[in-house]
Amino acid sequence: MRNMQYKVAHLINNAASAIFGFVFIAIWVGVLQGKENESPYSALDMTYYIAAVQCILWLSGFLTAGLNIQNGVRNGAISLELVRPTNFFLYVTSQEAGRLLYNFFFRSIPIGLVFALTVGFYVPQHVPSYLFLCISIFLAIIISINLHYLVGISACWTTEIDWAHFVNFTLLIGLGGQLVPIDLLPAPLSFITPYLPFAGAIYYPVMIFLEKVSSEVLFIQLFWAVLLTLMNLWLTEKARHKLEIQGG
């Protein structure tokens, strides 16, 4: 019975995610109607775009706040976790990666199917796109996990991460292109956002899927994935030292 409750809740959540998608698609179709010549995207392009975004969000958008590191800080368990011989960064991130793998099969794919059966779902036409897509999604996940880790590990200094998570999530969704493809943003933003990590988490994998950007954007993603990982490894070391000084 308990299992059944979870299944129903899960289904409801997937349905809600699809409804969010339908709402955003409706906005774009409403906006673009009769004005498609003014836009680099047709209404159908935007339908595919939003549908793909709703799927990728479950892999690189909706991650656990602070990867739950803050809970360990609050109840003191972090001191044990940090001194363990296993690498704390790898330990926390691989746990999240497991959850994302689950999301892929039980959220992204069913939601994608809903769109495929209702409004249509794009299928990449060229074989190399599939390889680039896999790499891009992989990098997107690394970028997003790192952003969330950054928020979580900040708890070692601030103890409270709610607001940091809010800000991170907003930037991820807003500047990541969840509602508006970032090339459509007004001038100063559209120059900067392509080079920010948020675009690497949502916009680029979606655009590679839709075959609308060259595979060179993978380098921007790779740059952020490496930089953020190194930064987090360094911060984890810092957190460990801070702990040693406090002793206890």
Binding site: I27, F166, L184, L185
Partner: protein, 261 residues
């Protein structure tokens, strides 16, 4: 009422103990909604309108919907987080008190950090009203009606929140349901209902009646269609919906079986 004010002021004082935290979280919550609206503004600046609704007109819908849901989040935080009472078995302790469980839930806590979102919504309303540059009579009517529309919105939101909370008597967990019954519909209500396909419109005007709180009256107030009835509908729907949700809540309590321990 006296009791309510006492309980609320107590919870207010406890919240203000952490002023910095309160300020930062209000600001960040406001920021989220600001970014959301800036993105919408970016689309509408570029493409002028969405099915005949310009930025300021959509801003009215957006503002009302945002203010309504954030006020609900400020005042009904325990109803919204009702899952905790089921999962941790705290509901029993509410049942043995002399005051009704719902009154206790409504007075127990305030989430003032959500005020940032309310202020944000009000700012959007002000900007939109200035931008619309209405004639005196229309402006007067709109200003008089706005509080009614917002209040109806809060009541509809509260009713939906309470209906969802009641589901917890059977399912324990409701977080997933809230995405379906609150977040998605209120997000949809930020935009004019005429952009949605028929089946979605039916949902938003029946089982999850968010379309009534802002779209119906604004349609009439901005001369986009409808009759005077459009102004009577929001409060009427809100009251009927509130009544139904209260009935369902009491039905849920009667069927509540403590897990005991």
């Amino acid at each position: 009422m006296n009791l309510y004010i006492k309980l609320i002021s107590g919870s207010l004082r406890s919240r203000m103990q952490y002023k910095m935290n309160f300020l930062v979280s209000s600001l960040s919550y406001g920021l989220i909604m600001a970014v959301d609206f800036v993105l919408l503004a970016a689309i509408l600046q570029r493409f002028d309108d969405v099915k005949g609704w310009n930025l300021f007109e959509v801003g009215l819908l957006y503002g009302i919907s945002s203010v309504a849901i954030t006020l609900y989040r400020v005042f009904c935080v325990e109803v919204h987080n009702f899952e905790r009472y089921m999962v941790e078995g705290e509901f029993d302790s509410l049942l043995i008190r002399p005051v009704s469980p719902l009154s206790l839930l409504l007075t127990k806590n305030l989430d003032l950090s959500r005020i940032g979102g309310t202020i944000q919504g009000i700012l959007i309303l002000i900007i939109s009203i200035i931008g619309l540059n209405l004639e005196n009579v229309e402006l007067f009517l709109l200003l008089i009606y706005l509080p009614i529309s917002i209040l109806a919105g809060v009541i509809i939101c509260f009713s939906l929140g309470l209906l969802t909370a009641t589901i917890a008597f059977w399912t324990q967990r409701i977080k997933d349901f809230q995405t379906f019954t609150l977040y998605a519909p209120f997000n949809a209500a930020n935009y004019p209902m005429n952009i949605y396909p028929g089946w979605l419109k039916i949902i938003f005007f029946t089982v999850i009646p968010v379309g009534f709180m802002n779209y119906t009256p604004i349609l009439f107030l901005l001369n986009k269609g409808g009759s005077l009835w459009n102004l009577a509908l929001p409060p009427a729907v809100a009251i009927v919906f509130l009544f139904l949700s209260l009935r369902f809540w009491h039905f849920g309590i009667r069927h509540y079986h403590s897990t005991g321990s």
